[in-house]
């Protein structure tokens, strides 16, 4: 094949695939502005009506708040536990550390449906009321392996002398950790945090099975789906997508840009 034909073919192929990848998102966002009650063609006109609708919807806004709350708190806990554990395994020698590390990352390899079912059976057996707390506990379970793995991978041997120097100059353990180790690893801690927030923000199964009265946004959207196609669902879906993208760009800007600098 001549090179020009190859290039044309490559452009065509990439174009079709990008089209396929973006088709649902474009349709979602486009028909969130539909001036009508059905988010399917033809497009009758553009309106912000449905956005007004969702921001006026108390339940939906409560769910959005819940989602943010659960995402931020569970990610913070996962980051803290992950950081401490990574510190222990990177800086000290513990017996059977391979096995312990395997235990901490194990939830990453198990379907969230199974994690949720296990927690549900234990909570119901112990008569623990389902709430945002139980959802958060579940989200820590799925995010802890991720945070641990990211932070553990960024703890190199070259930082050991830096921590030693701090200790040598009189810093106590908590001071070494707070003033030296954590600031030094901030890019990867932030990366773990934002990634974790993104996952928690989108997670459905655990949030669905482990919540009762207060629900997170994906669960609320799920219950909206029962009423079929609705431009209002498009609007809230677009907002969710936008927030995920914002989180991603924050990750890209704050974390990845920073870690590219020489240190």
């Amino acid at each position: 094949m001549p090179r020009q034909l190859q290039t044309a073919f490559a452009i065509l192929y990439a174009g079709v695939l990008y089209g396929f990848i973006f088709l649902p998102v474009v349709v979602l966002v486009l028909f969130s502005f539909q001036d009508g009650t059905l988010p399917v063609p033809p497009l009758h006109g553009l309106t912000l009506h449905w956005y007004g609708e969702i921001f006026a919807d108390r339940k939906l806004m409560a769910a959005l708040g819940n989602s943010l709350l659960v995402a931020v708190i569970s990610s913070a806990v996962a980051c803290l536990l992950g950081f401490l554990a990574a510190y222990a395994f990177a800086r000290y020698r513990l017996p059977a550390s391979n096995l312990q590390r395997a235990l901490i990352v194990a939830p990453m390899t198990v379907s969230t449906l199974i994690i949720a079912l296990g927690l549900l059976s234990v909570f119901s057996r112990l008569d623990i009321q389902l709430s945002l707390w139980t959802v958060g506990a579940g989200h820590v379970v799925i995010n802890l392996p991720l945070c641990f793995a990211i932070i553990y991978a960024s703890m190199g041997a070259h930082q050991i002398n830096i921590e030693r120097a701090a200790r040598d100059l009189g810093a106590r353990d908590w001071q070494v950790m707070l003033l030296v180790t954590a600031p030094m690893l901030m890019p990867s801690i932030l990366a773990a945090f934002f990634l974790s927030v993104t996952f928690s923000w989108d997670e459905f199964i655990i949030a669905f099975l482990l919540s009762r009265f207060d629900v997170t946004l994906p669960v609320e959207i799920w219950s909206m789906l029962r009423s079929g196609l609705d431009p209002k669902t498009n609007a809230i879906g677009s907002v969710v997508f936008l927030m995920s993208v914002v989180l991603l760009f924050m990750l890209e800007l704050i974390v990845l840009r920073k870690s590219g600098k020489p240190s």
């Binding site: 002398n161 830096i162 030693r164 120097a165 040598d168 100059l169 106590r172 600031p183 030094m184 240190s263």
Partner: protein, 370 residues
Amino acid sequence: MTADVSIRNATKDFGSFRALNDVSLEISAGEFIVLLGPSGCGKTTLLSILGGFLEPTSGTVLIGGRDMTHVAAARRPTTTMFQDYALFPHMSLLDNVGFGLRMRGLARSERHRKALAHLDLVGLRMSASRKPHELSGGQRQRVALARALAVDPDVLLLDEPLGALDLKLRRQMQDELKAIQRRVGTTFVHVTHDQEEAMAIADRIVVMNQGRIEDIGLPTDIYMRPRSLFSAGFMGEANFLPARIIGAADGEVRVETALGEVLLPAAAFAAAVPPAGGRITLCIRPEHFRPAGGAEASVALGRASIIDSAFFGGHHRCHLRPEAAPDMILTAHLPQTAQPRTGDLIDLAVAAASVVALAEAPASTQGDPQ
């Protein structure tokens, strides 16, 4: 501040490997001590034991007369300057140098004043607000020094601090280290594998090998009058000449070598003169060879032919084959002005006072200088 250091019978095992083998060492307050040896000789292990990063398997460490063997690094009157500098990458130079003072609860203004004074000491006052990654290797090294000195330690431990610098900068930093040490008066314990660096800065050198101390003394003594074959070979090039005692009389010792019989002063012996028949090794530095018939009391070693030579600026470095022992190859430095040619015959002699006789058989017949 400053303090003396006393290491008594320190041994350190890592599993079945003995990194440090029953080492005892007395360091006086204000001294600049250099621990010198090849990698794996135990010098860094000894430094880590002084700094509190390792505990000895047995033995004790006293600093300023107090037992520090099991005291954590943070509570010792020592600070360490690390090989990779270990500067805090997220802090400015001012905060780096002020860190130890902050840990000691000093108020911010006082801390900054002292940190600035120490940055001034190493000539980096103007860069106080910069971050470590903006500095060159030599500058980072100075910050590390300032940071370690800012808390006013009794003993400063330096772990190959000049290892990462290029040769020219290294020579310059050696002078600065020495000058700063004189100014602050702190006891310095400095680890290196570079014998020139050791000679340039040390009050006393401690030569280590295989977990043991081979030799301790002034740089000139270690070089001119080494007390072990290892020490002699590590400090610089040396010819090792196996010999046997014939007899001693009137402060002179007659020995037999492959190059003939030689009469040495008893002072050439580092230890007591062994009895007749005892095997010894004569150690001769290449620059100690003299043209025969010189004014000093000299020892004639017969004639030798030049195998090859190379010009080093200050001298010609020549390999020689003695006529009396054609299997042997000697290394000699001939004067700048000499014009050695392969095949030339020269009369070998050496000043009697510069020969060192060691009561050890060499591992191989030829010296293996660094």
